[in-house]
């Protein structure tokens, strides 16, 4: 008995030694494969700020060693930071301009890679008590611009000019929007004002939630911001298309582009052509461009990328294609 026990104990000791040796051999391999760590930094859009934070939290949950730092002061802050090499990720709610691209290429020697991560629409909203429901695009221009590059609607000074009656007819219009660093501002200027100039009395607030809060607290106000922001304090307006059909910025209208002011949201990456993404950034994009990452998009009030665009984005980053459950089961 005791001998056998001793023998077993001896075998156990050997086993332990072998496993330890094996483990030692494997250590470098494990170190290469498993723990992702480091800090992922992003500079850019305020509209994308909430999404980036959510994705970052999920990434940190998957890989506890990973930290994500988000600066969300406006899309305009991304290109200078990318060009200067201060960040490798730039979240932008508008495409880069030619000048910004040229500046990036001048500093980094190659163009940045634009990865669409979600769809958004610029929504127009008024105070919840305001009886107005729809606007046409030329009316939007007349509300916010003092140029007339899209239409010829005369300047609108009172809510009555938009067909409201009673007390509303006499009330003045207060206009709220984002500051120039914002992609929403630039996109609104390009799409809704046809590149014209904002009226000088459009209040510029630093942050989409500040715009929503300001409109929610002022009965006579109208403002614009991304899809994810409007609260119960404000009423989102439908935009009339060319045929006069009012279109609300719903999921379907945004995906189909029937709502006029839709836009993709991008993450710009400093990635030289032919180079592979570092593991950490790969993991981030794998998450963002996965069903889980896109579910975050929907929960934040934005619109997930349609499947073909999602697949194209993954291909551009050389990520493995998603296994499409619904398609394979139907086949």
């Amino acid at each position: 008995m005791s001998e056998r026990q001793a023998g077993r104990r001896g075998a156990g000791r050997w086993q332990r030694l072998v496993t330890m040796a094996l483990a030692l051999c494997w250590l470098p391999v494990m170190a290469m494969a498993a723990p992702l760590n480091g800090t992922l930094g992003s500079v850019g859009s305020d509209t994308l700020g909430g999404l980036m934070t959510q994705w970052g939290e999920r990434l940190s949950a998957r890989y506890p060693q990973v930290r994500v730092q988000i600066q969300a002061a406006g899309s305009g802050t991304a290109p200078p930071a990318l060009a200067a090499g201060a960040t490798r990720f730039g979240a932008m709610s508008r495409p880069m301009t030619d000048a910004e691209r040229a500046d990036f290429i001048a500093h980094q020697g190659h163009p940045p890679l634009a990865v669409p991560v979600a769809l958004d629409a610029l929504t127009l909203f008024v105070h919840r008590d305001n009886p107005l429901d729809t606007l046409s695009l030329p009316e939007v221009e007349a509300l916010f611009a003092d140029t007339r590059y899209c239409g010829q609607v005369p300047p609108l000074r009172r809510w009555g000019a938009l067909g409201l009656d009673g007390d509303w007819a006499k009330r003045p219009i207060a206009r709220f929007g984002r500051n120039t660093a914002s992609g929403s501002h630039a996109l609104f200027r390009r799409e809704a004002l046809c590149g014209g100039n904002f009226r000088r009395d459009v209040n510029e607030l630093p942050g989409s939630s500040a715009v929503v809060a300001a409109v929610g607290r002022s009965r006579e106000a109208i403002g614009y911001a991304g899809l994810g922001y409007p609260t119960a304090m404000v009423k989102v307006l439908a935009l009339r298309d060319d045929e006069g059909t009012p279109r609300l910025p719903t999921h379907d209208n945004v995906v189909s582009g029937r709502y006029p002011l839709t836009r993709p949201l991008y993450i710009y990456v400093n990635l030289a052509p032919g180079e592979r993404l570092p593991a950490l950034e790969r993991a981030f994009f794998d998450l963002v461009l996965s069903p889980e990452g896109q579910a975050v998009v929907a929960r934040q009030g934005f619109v997930p990328l349609p499947k073909p665009r999602l697949a194209a984005a993954r291909r551009a980053l050389r990520l493995p294609p998603l296994v499409d459950v619904t398609q394979s089961s139907s086949k």
């Binding site: 406006g74 802050t77 200078p80 301009t97 500051n179 100039n197 000088r200 009395d201 209040n203 607030l205």
Partner: protein, 707 residues
């Protein structure tokens, strides 16, 4: 023998001397470091701003000759070397022919648009070859398509312009007929213009300018084929060159007398702007050619005697000199940034013009004068940074400076009476014990962060005032009047109990009636509004005086920022007043003057320089304050003095826009110019205020010394 205690005493003294010297050195060094740091900021800002005012320059960089001399039409400098287009339609580089674009005709005109438009080659047989671009803007030479522009005659000139869905290519043939190709989606449509022209230029959205002799006509092409002539004008001299600038809303017209004029599309796009602007001329010979550059609304003008000028649409002539020898007008190709022009002279000489004008859009006039910008009918001061690079930059510092001073002025209107009143009261009327309690309490307000004040004022006070405007205005009148009335009443009533009540009851006795006055004002104001102002004060103000009311306005800024500068003002003014030698006041009182007389005739005049410096330092603080202005105003760069409209201050503008500005760009440097202005202003005001205070201190010392 020396006494050991003496020795240790001596060592101790030496140590103390060393320490003293060290301390003096450290303190002096710190002081110098602070001054140096401040100066360094000033120097840095100045250095960052100076390039804005560098003179623009056009440099002729490389002169070389290329093969195929004489047969070349256009040359490009691509990433992988030079390529050129021969007149017989071959695209070549140093190695040989890359592509053959045209078979049995020669190239007579080239129009090269931006990276969303094709390269158009006008041929001698009336056709055009269109070289498309891929989604990154690179030309796909192998996919050139052909379209017919003219039936018989060859193409003589081409011009490309943007539309909402695509582009328009206008052409003129050797006979002067004009036609255009309109591209929308995948469809290409030919449009004929029933006029003849010597020069053509294509603007935005199908606006076509053509000239014949002295007649200048603006056409509006439309995809349905029915073009309309929007406006016709006779110019002073025959037109010799036409070009739309970037954006397609400003037309530059050069004439036979060498004059250059700017014609703007009117805001409704239906014609010309009434006032045309003329630029400094290069000479008196005819303008041969205008070359619009793709950035900053710059263009080059060439005249018949070989002079060349670089102009900007708003700031005018930026550089002039001699053009490289090339007559007749050479074929040019411009890079996307507008910094290089490839220039091919007649005998195959190739020159590269480097255009060094990164800040050409800035001049004293564009910074300070009201200008008529594109899309506007009147001259205005505007500040609007060009975000995408296609917009016309609107860089006037005047509305920002105005906003800064307006905010500061209204803040002073609120703060000065309150702070000075409090200072006079606590310095001259309060007992030492009361003062010891009040002063720290007011000074503690200084610790309130600007963000908190801004948040409360912007999100709580501003909407409240908007809803209770009449009440607020009544309050603003009633509170000062009410306090005076309460003070007087208190004086009359309290004489009887004066000795029996504790001193604190003065405060309570004033507070309660004042609160009552406030309550009454607020609750009676709706009635007042209904009786006098037809139910709505804001509508009434608009109808009566044309005053608009913005929710975020100077009134709110005045109150919020006033609150923020009260502690500074109070503290400095109180110091000045309580520093007035007591002997003076006592002497005055002893001679029979009342307390009010003593205050007015003795204490205030003596302390006046100190109070003045307090006001100056308060003003300096108000000018530099950022967070409150940023959060409370809507940052609207308006030029109105109205208390009820918003503003945009230099400091807030800096906070909002600096993060987005590309480092080293015009916008960035202009923002730093704003910072430099703020720096100089606060530096000057504070220095002056310190000097005044210093002199005052000397004066006090004299009084104390005599006493």
């Amino acid at each position: 023998m020396t006494d050991p205690s003496v020795a240790s005493h001596r060592a101790n003294r030496r140590l103390r001397q060393h320490l003293d010297r060290l301390a003096t050195g450290v303190i002096a060094a710190s002081g110098i470091a602070v001054v140096a740091a401040v100066l360094a900021i000033g120097v840095y800002l100045t250095l960052a701003v100076l390039p804005l005012f560098d003179a623009a320059e056009v440099k002729v960089e490389a002169a070389s000759t290329v093969a195929d001399e004489g047969a070349i039409h256009t040359v490009w400098l691509a990433d992988d070397g030079m390529r050129w287009l021969t007149r017989d339609g071959q695209l070549r580089n140093a190695e040989g022919t890359i592509a053959r674009l045209v078979e049995d005709a020669t190239i007579a005109a080239v129009a090269e648009g931006d990276d969303t438009q094709p390269l158009a080659l006008g041929l001698s047989n009336g056709e055009v070859r269109l070289v498309p671009r891929d989604d990154r803007g690179r030309l796909i030479w192998t996919q050139a398509a052909t379209a017919r522009l003219f039936a018989t005659r060859g193409v003589a000139a081409l011009a490309l312009g943007h539309t909402a869905q695509g582009w328009v290519l206008a052409g003129r043939n050797t006979q002067g007929d004009v036609a255009a190709l309109w591209r929308a989606g995948d469809a290409l449509r030919r449009l004929a213009v029933p006029e003849t022209a010597e020069h053509i230029a294509m603007g935005h959205a199908g606006r076509l300018a053509i000239s014949q002799g002295t007649q200048l006509t603006l056409w509006k092409l439309s995809p349905d084929g029915k073009g309309t002539a929007l406006a016709r004008t006779d110019t002073r001299a025959p037109v010799t060159a036409l070009s739309f600038l970037q954006g397609g809303r400003t037309l530059i017209v050069g004439d036979a007398q060498g004059e250059l004029r700017r014609w703007r599309l009117s805001p409704d796009d239906a014609g010309w702007q009434a006032a045309e602007t003329s630029y400094a001329a290069l000479g008196d010979t005819a303008i041969r050619r205008l070359i619009a550059l793709p950035r900053q609304r710059l263009w080059l003008a060439l005249d018949a005697s070989g002079r060349m000028g670089l102009y900007q649409s708003l700031s005018g002539l930026r550089w002039q000199g001699q053009a490289p020898r090339a007559i007749p007008p050479p074929a040019v190709s411009i890079n996307a940034q507008g910094t290089q022009v490839m220039w091919l002279g007649e005998s195959g000489t190739l020159q590269r013009l480097a255009i060094e004008a990164p800040h050409a859009a800035v001049s004293a006039a564009t910074l300070l004068m009201p200008l008529t910008y594109e899309g506007h009918s009147t001259a205005q001061w505007r500040w609007a940074a060009a975000v995408t690079g296609d917009e016309e930059p609107q860089y006037s510092l005047v509305p920002l400076a105005w906003g800064t001073l307006k905010a500061a002025a209204w803040a002073m209107v609120f703060a000065v009476p309150l702070a000075l009143g409090a200072a006079v009261h606590s310095a001259c009327y309060m007992s030492r014990r009361q003062r010891a309690r009040l002063k720290p309490a007011i000074e503690l307000m200084e610790a309130l962060p600007g963000v908190v004040i801004g948040f409360v004022a912007g999100l709580i006070v501003a909407p409240f005032v908007e809803r209770h405007l009449a009440g607020t205005l009544v309050l603003l009148v009633c509170v000062p009047l009410g306090s005076v009335a309460c003070g007087w009443l208190w004086r009359v009533l309290s004489r009887r109990w004066e000795l029996r009540l504790p001193p604190i009851s003065v405060g309570v006795g004033l507070m309660v009636p004042l609160a009552l006055v406030c309550w009454a004002a607020l609750s009676l104001s709706p009635w007042l509004e209904a009786w006098w102002f037809g139910g709505d004060l804001r509508t009434w103000m608009y109808q009566q005086w044309g005053w608009d009311y913005a929710q975020r306005n100077a009134l709110i800024v005045g109150m919020a920022m006033g609150l923020a500068i009260i502690p500074t003002l109070y503290s400095l003014a109180e110091e000045a007043l309580s520093g007035v030698p007591r002997t003076l006041a006592e002497g005055s009182l002893a001679l029979g003057a009342t307390r009010a007389q003593t205050l007015w005739r003795v204490q205030l005049p003596v302390a006046a320089p100190g109070i003045l410096s307090a006001v100056m330092i308060g003003a300096g603080r108000a000018v530099g304050e950022t967070m409150i202005v940023l959060m409370v105003t809507g940052n609207t760069p308006l030029m109105s003095p109205s208390l009820f409209e918003g503003l945009r201050s230099l400091a807030a503008n800096l906070a909002i826009e600096l993060p987005e500005a590309a480092v080293g760009g015009t916008h960035y440097r202009l923002l730093l110019l704003g910072a430099l202005l703020l720096f100089v202003f606060t530096f000057a005001v504070n220095t002056l205020a310190e000097m005044v205070r210093w002199r005052l201190k000397r004066r006090y010392r004299r009084y104390w010394g005599n006493a």
